[in-house]
Each structure stands twice: as C-alpha cells, then as structure tokens.
C-alpha cells in the first residue's frame, strides 16, 4: 500500500478518542477498583487475630508502608511507561520502597536469628495464603491489563513486570494484615520471593501480552 493511501484510510478511521488521564489519576482509578476486592477478601478470610496487636509493631508498620508504597509506585510507573516521550527514570521509582521492604525483612531475619537461634530462620511450607492471594489478584490483574493495553507498548516487558509488581504488592499488603505472626524469613521467602518471581514471569511474557495491535492485524491479513 502507498503511504498516501494509508494516510487517507487512517484519516477516514479517525473517530474521536478519549484521552488517557495522567498516570497519577489512573493509579487512583486502579486502586478504586482493586482496594475493595482486597478488603473484601481480607474480611471474608480473616482468622480473627486482633489487628490492634500488630498496629504498634514498628517493623510491621514499616513493612506494610513499604509494600503499599511499592504497589502505588509500581502502578504509577507502569502507567507512566505506556506514554510515548515520558522520561524513563520514573520507571525505577518502585525500587525505593522495595529496598526499604527488603531491608526491614533482612533486619527482622537477623533479629529472629539472635533471639531464637537457627530455628528462627527455618522455612516451612505454608499454603494457607495461596487461595486468598489468588482471589485478591484476579480483579486487580484484569483491571491493570485493560488499563495498560490502552497505552502504547513501548517497553512491554518493563510495563507488565511493573503492573504485576503493583498487583502482587497490593495483594501482599492485604495478606499480611490477616496472615500475622510469620517470622521474617518466611515473609522474605514466600511473600517477597513470590512478588519478585511473579514480576520476573510477567517480564518474560511482556511482549506476548502487550503489543501493537495493528501488527497482529497485519500478520493475520
């Protein structure tokens, strides 16, 4: 097809478009969709452990704040990454709260080691949180994917990894609130580890999930 013909066809197809809101507004929209789901699962699956007991735990508060900040900054960076011309340095934002979370967990591991000994660093299989985590993730993941696909897939691997990081961190934030009493090494391995693993898997799938749709259409014709 000649370029002039393509221009004519695109111009005919130029229906009015709804502009994407700014990344910050999109984070609020995503949170408005996702937070009620996380809250609902929390209420339904809560084991009745009084939250007040841990609300005064300094380490718990630092970690929860860092996890929530990771979710918010990762969502912001994901929405930022689908805007052409936006500076890439903001994609690194989630690294700051992630580092805080990791540092706090490391500090907790050392404290457990000193206070309990080697027993404080023992890992055990714990499948209790798998079902609530999955339930918490479904709607936020779907919302995130729909919102990301409205943007331009310029760095699809990074975009999807950040989107999944946001979902996993938000789910983890809710999970920690009713899955209390774990030693730091368990949280480090199962919670932090699963968040990172999911993000890495998402990064590997980025190009398959987020792509320019016209290329797919062209490939099919």
């Amino acid at each position: 097809m000649e370029t002039n013909d393509l221009v004519a066809r695109l111009a005919v197809d130029a229906a009015p478009v709804r502009r994407l809101p700014s990344p910050a507004v999109r984070v609020v929209i995503w949170l408005a969709i996702s937070a009620p789901v996380v809250l609902a699962v929390m209420v339904l699956m809560s084991s009745g452990v009084p939250l007040l007991l841990v609300l005064f735990d300094r380490q718990f508060l630092i970690e929860e704040t860092a996890i929530l900040a990771t979710a918010l900054t990762a969502a912001f960076a994901a929405f930022w990454s689908v805007i052409p011309g936006a500076e890439r340095k903001f994609l690194l934002l989630p690294l700051v709260p992630l580092a805080v979370w990791l540092t706090s967990l490391g500090e907790g591991c050392v404290r457990d080691w000193f206070s309990v000994g080697v027993d404080g660093l023992q890992l055990r299989l714990d499948g209790d949180c798998v079902v609530p985590a999955a339930l918490m993730a479904i709607i936020p993941t779907a919302a995130m994917l729909v919102m990301l696909r409205r943007g331009a897939p310029l760095v699809p691997r990074a975009t999807l990894a950040l989107g999944v990081l946001a979902v996993a961190a938000l789910g983890n934030f809710g999970l920690r609130l009713f899955h209390l009493g774990d030693v730091s090494v368990m949280v480090l391995f199962w919670h932090f580890g699963s968040v990172l693993l999911l993000s890495l898997i998402a990064a590997s799938l980025g190009r398959s999930v987020l792509h320019w749709r016209h290329r797919v259409r062209l490939a099919r014709t």
Partner: protein, 216 residues
C-alpha cells in the same frame, strides 16, 4: 508532576530542525517551536475526530519521519524506509489517545518512531538469524537429475512402444508394480506368480526399457 518537557523536547527534535551551533540556531528553535505548536493544534483536532486535521497532520509528519528513519538506518532501501514510516503512522494512530495536548507533540512522535525503528531492527535480526546468504544454492547430489527442480517427462509414445516390445511377464510385472504401484504381495496374488519371479521380471523389464529408450 509534568511529563518531562524541555529536556525531552531538545533531545527528540526531528532531524529537519535541529539545535545547531551556527548563527541561525535561535531562528531554528523558533521554527521548531512554531512547527510543534501547529502540530499540537492539529493533533488536538484529530483527537476530537476532525478528519481533515488528522490527514494534514499525517501528511506533515511523513517527511519528518522519512528523514528520521533514514538518519537512524542509513543502510535501508527506500521501500524498507517506507515500510517503517507506515508502521510508525499505524502506531501513532493506535496510540493517539496517549497524547496530551498540554505537552509538545514532536517528542511524543519521535518516541513512537524510535520504538518502531528499534522493533523493525529486532524483526530484521530475527529473520536474518534463520537465513544463510549463499552465492549458489548447495547441491544435494552430485548428479544433475536429482537436482532438477521440475520433473522432466520423456516421450510417452516411445515408452508405450518399448513396453509393447517386452515379454508378457515383464510387461505385466512393470504395469502392476511401477504403473499401478501395487505391492509385491498384491501383484503376486493378482498374477499368481511368486514374489521372487516378479522381482526378477521387473528388474529385467526395466533394464530392457532403459536399453530400448537409449538410457542404458
């Protein structure tokens, strides 16, 4: 927080109007700014669904895109450049909701262009990784016959006459095993001859055919 404006605008200025160090640099900056403002207006109208503005916008950016692609991929042939330009136009069309008219247009456009050019290079590398360029296609067999691309048929009338000249046993064996492609077992059942006898008859018949057709 604003999406990075001044630095990005400087970095992504299209190739026609750069920030050169000569005396006309200030004039170039003004021209670039004017051009960008015009494109912003056109894009705003295009987002509202104005077909004429969209067509004008696309026509104005095509030369910029051609130059940008040529500058990044100087080795490309004109049709390949045109393919990339069309890919960029299609991507722009798909991503036009992401443009914020409060921001400059050209950095937004050039970010898409860079992405499509890089993607084109990745596709090219993937394709060429599975291709081997050779001056001459390698031969699979030393003889000419197996390397002949199409099947060459001889004279069917000569073959018919040569078949007619064969003894009945050989002719029947060739008909059953070579022309009707029966198995040795089926041919043995049909003719009542043994498998060994059929093999001998076919071998002798083929030898006689080659001899009479001049290929022995």
């Amino acid at each position: 927080m604003r999406l990075g404006r001044p630095a990005a605008a400087r970095k992504l200025t299209p190739p026609t109007i750069g920030y050169s160090v000569d005396e006309s640099s200030e004039q170039d900056v003004d021209e670039s700014s004017e051009q960008d403002q015009r494109l912003v207006r056109l894009m705003r109208s295009a987002q509202a669904g104005e077909t004429a503005a969209y067509a004008q916008l696309l026509n104005e950016i095509i030369p910029l895109l051609r130059r940008a692609v040529r500058r990044q991929r100087a080795f490309l042939q004109p049709p390949d450049v045109e393919d990339l330009v069309q890919d960029i136009l299609l991507s722009l069309h798909e991503a036009r909701a992401t443009y914020d008219p409060g921001r400059p247009f050209l950095p937004w456009l050039m970010a898409i262009a860079r992405n499509r050019v890089a993607d084109g290079a990745r596709r090219y590398m993937r394709r060429s990784a599975n291709e081997v360029v050779v001056d001459k296609l390698p031969e699979t067999f030393p003889g000419d016959d197996p390397n002949t691309p199409g099947e060459v048929f001889g004279d069917p009338e000569a073959l018919r006459l040569a078949m007619k000249g064969l003894p009945r046993g050989q002719r029947d064996a060739i008909e059953m095993l070579k022309l009707r492609e029966m198995s040795l077992k089926e041919a043995a059942v049909t003719s009542g001859a043994s498998i060994a006898a059929l093999k001998v008859a076919v071998h002798r018949g083929m030898h006689a055919l080659r001899k009479s057709l001049g290929k022995a």
